[in-house]
């Protein structure tokens, strides 16, 4: 057994048994972050904080929610909303949080794309981040089923039908996923399980992995500059704080994060208290009815772009387009053939590619909300084709990019 001295403080007692001082040094005071960054680098911690808020509000909703097709709707819209003290607060925090978390995820993603933070040893950061995006999508979808309103039911119907694979006509697979011919009790129960246990568990695991992948390649900076972190850290520790290119994660960088989080939470709670209705689709305040489709079925805003990629095509092509759009962002580190790690503004044609992609995603998002008629159908089709054209163009334009 290891030899233990008498400890003079609780901290020392813990340190002897858990090496908390080492942990603190490795994870905080000597985890180095570049100085040359801006507020966009705070989005990671903003996401972590939002996930925390979703977890806490979810725990309180879980205490009154009933995963039963006859009770679910009322347990949310009656019990939680008008009986449980402050039940409305948890629901609105949870609904707004689920929506806003995607806004921040998209900002986080496009920041990474703009500064080339997925290249040269940072591929795993990108891949684990994309995995988190997929898991958050699954979490959002499964959660959307739970109030068992009209949108829950019909979104569940339409999305599970995607697994029939169009002409493959794999009805068996769809019925297996549902546990019934149509979304019913078995369906609600299993999506409840996914939402409150399996998917959040996976999310927590991949968040840890995501942090881990950051460790060795280090955080990127505004110029994509490659420098010796060990040397910069020595400089900082020797007291040359000004000359050093790095700062410790905690407390220095974290204080900057907290400032950004402060601004973010002003916006967040403004939405929770004054504009929660944007995250509460009115159609979902009708109880689920398997014999009546709502006039327009559309997903929440954050899925609209990929929904619009599906919509203008015939079933099979649409499905292939949709499936491709879901995974194509995973391929970014491999489709970008340029060795340059630099902001898009210094990368010539890639700068145009970046803004076109962002614009195209925005156009697809707006079109996804409009009914598929007339001019909007055409605009949607053009935007969907542009989306794929941009991905085909990416390896070509980056191949010819001038080495910086």
């Amino acid at each position: 057994m290891a030899h233990f001295e008498k400890a003079n403080s609780i901290g020392e007692w813990l340190d002897q048994r858990l090496a908390v001082e080492t942990l603190k040094r490795v994870l905080q005071t000597e985890y180095w972050i570049p100085k040359n960054i801006n507020f966009l680098w705070a989005m990671g911690m903003v996401l972590a904080a939002t996930f925390g808020i979703l977890l806490i509000s979810g725990i309180f909703l879980l205490m009154y929610y009933q995963p039963n097709v006859n009770l679910a709707f009322d347990s949310v819209n009656y019990t939680i909303m008008s009986q449980v003290g402050y039940g409305w607060l948890w629901r609105h925090v949870h609904g707004v949080g689920a929506s806003v978390v995607f806004l921040i995820i998209y900002i986080h993603m496009f920041t990474g794309i703009y500064y080339g933070s997925y290249k040269k040893g940072r591929e795993l950061i990108w891949l684990s981040g994309m995995l988190l995006f997929v898991l958050f999508s699954a979490e959002a979808f499964s959660g959307y089923m739970l109030p068992w309103g009209q949108m829950s039911y019909w979104a569940g119907m339409v999305i599970t039908n995607l697994f029939s694979g169009g002409s493959l006509h794999a009805n068996g697979l769809v019925e297996w996923i549902r546990g019934d011919y149509v979304p019913g009790q078995a369906f609600l129960n299993r999506f409840f399980m996914l939402h409150v246990l399996l998917v959040p568990l996976a999310i927590i695991g991949v968040i840890v992995l995501h942090f881990g992948t950051l460790r060795i390649p280090h955080v990127n900076n505004q110029d994509g500059e490659e420098f010796d972190f060990a040397e910069a850290a020595e400089l900082y520790k020797a007291g040359n704080v000004k000359e050093s290119k790095v700062i410790p994660f905690s407390p220095v960088f974290l204080s900057k994060d907290v400032l950004v989080m402060g601004v973010y939470f002003l916006f967040f709670f403004y939405l929770v208290f004054y504009h929660f209705e944007f995250a509460m689709d009115p159609v979902n305040f009708d109880p689920a009815n398997g014999l009546k489709t709502p006039t327009h079925i559309y997903p929440e805003w954050y899925f609209l772009w990929s929904y619009e990629v599906l919509r203008p095509f015939s079933t099979n092509i649409g499905l292939i387009a949709f499936a491709t759009a879901q995974v194509i962002f995973f391929m970014l580190p491999f489709l970008d053939r340029s060795p340059n790690v630099a902001p898009a503004s210094r990368r010539g044609a890639f700068q145009i590619w970046f803004w076109l992609m962002l614009l195209d995603i925005l156009v697809l998002t707006f079109m996804g909300k409009l009914p598929p008629q007339g001019i909007w159908s055409t605009v949607g089709l053009v935007a969907a084709l542009t989306f794929f054209a941009l991905w085909i163009a990416l390896p070509i334009i980056t191949k010819f990019e001038k080495k910086l």
Binding site: M157, G179, D180, Y181, R311, S314
Partner: protein, 185 residues
């Protein structure tokens, strides 16, 4: 590791790995079966509908396995029109109708074959429109405009006088399956 134990350790490793993999496959199968529809869900899959009182060109919606079932009795003109109509997928509309006595009926699962929304019927134009993605069907529920890949699926049926038993496959249904008029639901 000493050389003389290597073969033995490899064997133990492979034996352990093999049995673990076997157990893992068994567990996966159990998990798959747990997600299957329950016997009670499958057993509740039969519904009888009576077509005696159905009016020409008036859409009736029944329920079978939780899904809406469209029943549309065809008028003389509609039958005549269906004789010559061919859907987007090359299938003849007339083959989709169920003949009972002298009457022709369209009976189909009222879920768009694209992604499962319920199409709406317009009795004046005698067609179905799915509001979700704009798919269209004629009065026999044959597809006339994409994205749906085929006409509305016809549920397994057995003719019993003026009644239809849904969920049971009669000879007329088997013929429709065999000639590709509908796919198995």
């Amino acid at each position: 590791m000493a050389n003389n134990t290597k073969g033995r350790r490899d064997f133990m490793g492979m034996a352990l790995g093999g049995f673990t993999a076997l157990g893992g496959i068994g567990a996966l199968y159990a998990m798959k079966r747990t997600w299957d529809p329950l016997p009670s869900v499958k057993a509740a899959g039969f519904t009888t509908i009576d077509l005696k009182d159905v009016q020409d060109n008036v859409l009736v919606t029944e329920k079978w396995r939780g899904k809406p079932i469209f029943v549309l009795k065809q008028s003389k003109e509609m039958v005549a029109k269906a004789q010559n109509e061919i859907g987007k997928n090359g299938k003849k509309s007339i083959n989709r109708l169920i003949k009972i006595g002298d009457n022709y009926y369209m009976v189909a699962v009222g879920l768009c074959t694209h992604l499962g929304c319920i199409p709406g019927y317009n009795p004046e134009k005698e067609d179905f429109l799915c509001a979700c993605h704009g798919g269209m069907y004629d009065a026999t529920a044959n597809v006339t405009k994409a994205p749906p890949p085929r006409g509305l699926d016809i549920p397994p049926f057995k003719i019993d006088g003026t009644k239809l038993v849904l969920g049971e496959a009669g000879p007329e249904y088997k013929k429709m399956l065999a000639d590709g008029t509908t796919l198995a639901v």
